[in-house]
């Protein structure tokens, strides 16, 4: 009897894994097709959609850290903000080539993550959470005080990037901005997927589950975590630079605690540890945010809250777990009176 049960669970997990693999393979083509379809369908919302693409890359960086390394952080905006300011300051003073600006943002985000990560990643759990908050607060305060460079609370403006690849001028309607952001997101996604499937990604997943066991295999858990934090910092920095390049301004809120927390909300909404969950969560959150905020400017926060509670109650693995079938099975199971 128990053999039958095991056989059934094994078949079910196999089916779920197959669906997950299919989602994994389909993610990039689907992202490209939907992204381009949205370009034709919603020509008046290109500004919002550009922000969504850049934010998705930012949330993706959080998924690398949290979903694949198990690092609990409320300070990912430190890397995003540093990348945004680095690119913005470089654009105002040095260069205006957009891809160079993204590279500058990535290097800046990676460096700040490497330095702060080496300092704080010996801690775990709540202590680490507090330290990440401290880091993002410090970065924000530095940006606030360095008015001559960052514009302080007025924000940094006057970012006027040259045409992409010398060919595509940033136009008033935001067409170039959107397509550029979509392209960067897709390239970033592919690179992230490559890293996740690499020996390094495998080791990080091991650290997430049991750091001591990794040490017993000869690896140094802290070195993996610091390296992963730095790699994710590069992604966050590029996302910040992308936001700076496409929007033309950088504000203090780009390195804020609340922007860090919002990334976490979007990631949990989509589902952690799957990469595409970060993209789905960002699109869902920002779209709902946009629709609710314009239809009911006074109560939209309430509806966002209710929506999040529904997700946490009925699909604790996020939207992607519903797509994978796990959430649906759980709900059916509950309806039949079984325990989930």
């Amino acid at each position: 009897m128990s053999a039958v049960a095991t056989d059934r669970t094994r078949r079910e997990t196999a089916g779920r894994r197959l669906r997950r693999a299919a989602l994994d393979g389909a993610a990039v083509p689907v992202m490209a097709v939907l992204g381009l379809a949205a370009f034709w369908l919603f020509p008046n919302d290109l500004g919002l959609m550009t922000r969504i693409a850049a934010t998705a890359l930012y949330v993706l960086s959080l998924d690398l850290v949290l979903g694949f390394g198990g690092i609990a952080t409320l300070g990912q905006a430190a890397m995003f903000g540093t990348g945004a300011y680095a690119a913005g300051i470089a654009a105002v003073n040095l260069v205006d080539e957009p891809i160079t600006l993204l590279a500058i943002g990535g290097v800046a985000g990676g460096l700040i993550a490497l330095v702060t990560g080496a300092l704080i990643l010996h801690a775990r759990g709540l202590t680490l959470l507090m330290l990440t908050i401290a880091v993002v607060q410090i970065v924000q305060e530095v940006a606030n005080k360095a008015r001559d460079w960052t514009g302080g609370s007025d924000g940094l403006s006057g970012i006027d990037p040259a045409p992409v690849l010398g060919l595509f001028r940033f136009d008033l309607y935001g067409r170039t901005s959107y397509l550029f952001a979509l392209a960067v997101l897709i390239v970033g996604y592919l690179v992230a997927r490559r890293i996740v499937r690499s020996p390094f990604g495998l080791a990080c997943r091991g650290v997430k589950e049991d750091p001591l066991r990794v040490a017993a295999l000869g690896g140094s858990p802290k070195r993996y975590l610091v390296a992963l934090y730095a790699v994710a910092g590069v992604f966050a920095g590029v996302a910040g630079a992308l936001t700076a390049v496409t929007s033309g301004i950088v504000g203090l809120d780009s390195a804020s605690f609340s922007w860090s927390a919002e990334a976490l909300v979007m990631l949990v909404l989509g589902g952690t540890g799957r990469l595409y969950g970060a993209v789905i969560g960002t699109v869902a959150f920002m779209t709902i945010h946009h629709i609710l905020a314009s239809s009911d400017p006074f109560h939209w926060m309430l509806f966002i809250g209710l929506f999040l509670m529904a997700i946490v109650l009925f699909a604790p693995g996020g939207i992607t777990s519903v797509l994978n079938g796990a959430g649906i099975e759980r709900v059916f199971h509950r309806m039949k009176g079984g325990r989930a």
């Binding site: 890293i195 020996p199 997943r205 589950e209 017993a216 295999l217 000869g218 690896g219």
Partner: protein, 253 residues
């Protein structure tokens, strides 16, 4: 005379005033099949933790192939070939059996900082992992997440992981713990196939397993080395009987 692979000399550990290991001296040579036994609370697990570098000793030295490793970290000792398995299977629950072995092999070859290589396309990796799976009879379970694996299979994976690291000295902490008696022969079969030149120290409660596997038995009691010898010598030693019967009588009283 072959030099000892692992030499432990005067190893002691105090937790505050409590002495859990005192003045333990032993050595393991290539090809040794040694068992460490002792009643509960004798300090066997503390000893393993001291030797593998999880705990720092209060006094004493540990040498691996003649080199002092007493102050090295646990992972540095692993990289020099001192490998342990865990008493309770300590595995990565969401990862598959194959992924465990891939990670172990990649760790051994220090290729885990390759960010842009694909695990699936690492040269030679798939073949080596297939060989390990086959040797432990885990091929059919290769793509099962470890969390859903039967406990006996998890124990076999523990041994396979240790082997994937190509150890010189292997410490097996209760390799058959939690495995039904009817299945412990599978563990023993796996242990029989360990490379001959490996020095193995096994900590075990199951005396059948100890007597069948070990050519030398060391008895630990209250943190001290009581005696060591062959299976017959140990079985006949009145002090060993005292320690076991004494403590067992105490437990049952």
């Amino acid at each position: 005379m072959t030099t000892a692979l692992l030499e432990v000399e005067g190893l002691s550990k105090n937790f505050g005033g409590l002495q859990v290991s005192s003045d333990i001296t032993l050595d393991l040579k290539a090809g040794d099949r040694c068992a460490l036994i002792g009643p509960n609370g004798a300090g066997k697990t503390t000893f393993v933790n001291l030797v593998t570098g999880v705990l720092a000793p209060t006094a004493g030295t540990i040498r691996l192939e003649g080199q002092d490793v007493t102050t090295l970290s646990a992972e540095a000792r692993v990289r020099r070939g001192l490998i342990r398995s865990f008493q309770v299977a300590r595995l990565f629950r969401s990862m598959t059996v194959r992924e465990h072995l891939e990670l172990a092999v990649l760790e051994r070859e220090r290729k885990t900082f390759r960010l842009f290589a694909s695990v699936r396309r690492m040269p030679g990796l798939a073949d080596e992992v297939a060989g390990l799976l086959d040797a432990m009879g885990l091929t059919a379970a290769a793509d099962t997440p470890v969390g859903t694996l039967a406990y006996g299979q998890q124990r076999l994976l523990e041994i396979a992981l240790a082997l994937a690291l190509k150890p010189k000295v292997l410490i097996l902490d209760e390799p058959a713990a939690g495995v039904p008696h009817s299945e412990s022969h599978r563990i023993l079969d796996a242990l029989d196939r360990l490379p001959a030149d490996l020095a193995v120290l096994m900590i075990e409660h199951d005396m059948d397993l100890v007597f069948r596997f070990a050519r030398r038995i060391i008895v630990l009691a209250q943190g001290r080395l009581l005696c060591s010898g062959t299976a017959q010598e140990i079985a006949a030693d009145p002090r060993v009987r005292d320690v076991y019967l004494g403590s067992r009588a105490h437990v049952q009283a």
